[in-house]
């Protein structure tokens, strides 16, 4: 390992996590311009990936373990790709497949994941669905047909989503459903009409969805 590589590795270790140009400059005690240069060098060596930029703040994800060479599709990464409500988590679920999972599959996986934040963030994917039939098949496979239908109705009330065709809707109404399990109890009485129609409990309240609507803009 060259001396410069060792230096870069120790910087990556020191800055490990989520950073912006300002936080890098503060942590290293350098000017913002120098911090951006460091970010460029870290990216070149594979220690850094970034999101955002343009009108919003640019976030750098830094890790002493190089990002280069990581294979597979991250479920959280795919949600962030399609949804405006972004997830920042230390956990990762990587799918090793020949092709990128379509939005239908990502949505069904997110709803069945038993992770509240993942489920909420995935609601925006109802606007990316191209193949409703595929969504129904996958939802039935994961035994969450009615859950998907109910969440679609909730999402439709607050955010822009594509129209679900009647055939899929009828099929989902007749299909299976299961309890949402998040490891903690969630009470909500805001969507009782939808709950009654789809015969599943909806673990979201109106206030959550209003915040979601704000963030989705």
């Amino acid at each position: 390992m060259k001396k410069s590589d060792v230096k870069l590795f120790s910087i990556a270790k020191k800055l490990s996590g989520l950073q912006t140009a300002s936080t890098i400059s503060k942590n290293l005690g350098v000017e913002k311009r120098t911090a951006v240069n460091y970010a460029w060098r870290l990216r070149k060596e594979g220690y850094l990936t970034s999101t955002g930029g343009g009108r919003s703040i640019k976030f750098y994800r830094i890790s002493p373990l190089k990002f280069k060479g990581k294979k597979g599709y991250s479920l959280y990464g795919l949600i962030n790709k399609y949804s405006r409500v972004k997830l920042n988590t230390s956990k990762d679920y990587i799918i090793h497949a020949k092709r990128e999972p379509p939005p239908e599959e990502i949505l069904v996986r997110a709803i069945s994941s038993n992770e509240y934040r993942l489920m909420i963030a995935s609601l925006a994917l109802f606007n990316k669905i191209n193949n409703w039939s595929n969504l129904r098949i996958l939802a039935e496979e994961y035994k969450i047909g009615r859950n998907v239908g109910a969440l679609y109705d909730v999402a439709r009330k607050f955010i822009r989503v594509r129209r679900m065709d009647e055939k899929t809707r009828k099929a989902l109404l007749k299909s299976n459903g299961k309890k949402f399990l998040f490891g903690y109890k969630i009470k909500s009485k805001n969507f009782q009409d939808i709950e009654k129609r789809w015969r599943v409990f909806i673990p979201i309240n109106k206030h959550d969805m209003e915040i979601y609507k704000e963030w989705s803009r």
Binding site: P64, L65, K71, G72, S90, K91, Y93, I94, H96
Partner: protein
């Protein structure tokens, strides 16, 4: 030696051959490869929490011409008196896969280890959970191989190790079957600190030593009574 690409290919084949979703945990060098902290490993170590999952993967490996190596190579400490011996599968080219059920010799797959998993990989029907770097270090102390010390050292350099997790899990292991675990761990970390100048806080060593001493006193006290 198994490289990361070969390991991925192997998991992909197993995942395709399995008929149902099967979950397991990857530990040791294989886990380090997932984190990008190592380029190759001598063997792939998989831990199962369900016996049927282990049997299914074993069957797939047998289909792939892997053979069960009955006689254990003496790499594990205290393996002689352990009832849950791992199944060692050896491939045609000598590549080795060790299959463990719930226990890794003196170490038990506790709920806390399961909850600390941060990375999950899905290869078709094979779901692989990568244990945390702290747990990899803890598991490394169960072996007597020189290279495991280097692996632990490399992990300490590359990750910001949360030593509180190590101490908590050490105490946790004593509540399970392996009551002498802190003694082995102290021995292992002390060696790393002395011989390899590992960056282990002295306070951590003191705490583990105290836990070990208390345990030994407790055990000896009970015997005397």
């Amino acid at each position: 030696m198994v490289k990361i690409n070969e390991q991925t290919q192997l998991f992909e084949i197993i995942g395709t051959e399995l008929k149902e979703k099967t979950e397991c945990f990857v530990i040791g060098g294989s886990a380090m490869m997932f984190y990008g902290a190592k380029e190759d490993t001598k063997d792939v170590d998989l831990v199962f929490l369900k016996k049927e999952g282990l049997e299914k993967v074993k069957k797939v490996l047998e289909k792939m011409s892997y053979r069960d190596k009955k006689e254990l190579v003496k790499i594990f400490r205290r393996y002689e008196d352990n009832k849950n011996r791992p199944i060692m599968m050896v491939g045609l080219e000598g590549q080795r896969i060790d299959l463990f059920f719930k226990e890794i010799i003196t170490f038990e797959m506790s709920d806390t280890i399961v909850n600390r998993v941060k990375e999950t990989h899905e290869f078709g029907n094979l779901i692989i959970k990568v244990v945390s770097p702290e747990d990899i270090i803890l598991l490394k102390c169960a072996t007597e191989r020189e290279k495991d010390r280097f692996d632990a050292l490399s992990l300490m350099e590359k990750f910001d190790i949360d030593w509180d997790i190590i101490i908590e899990e050490t105490v946790n292991q004593t509540k399970l079957e392996s009551y002498l675990f802190p003694v082995y761990l102290y021995d292992f970390l002390e060696e790393l600190k002395e011989d390899f100048k590992a960056d282990i806080p002295i306070e951590v060593l003191r705490k583990i030593r105290k836990i070990s001493e208390n345990l030994l006193e407790e055990k000896l006290g009970k015997k005397k009574k």
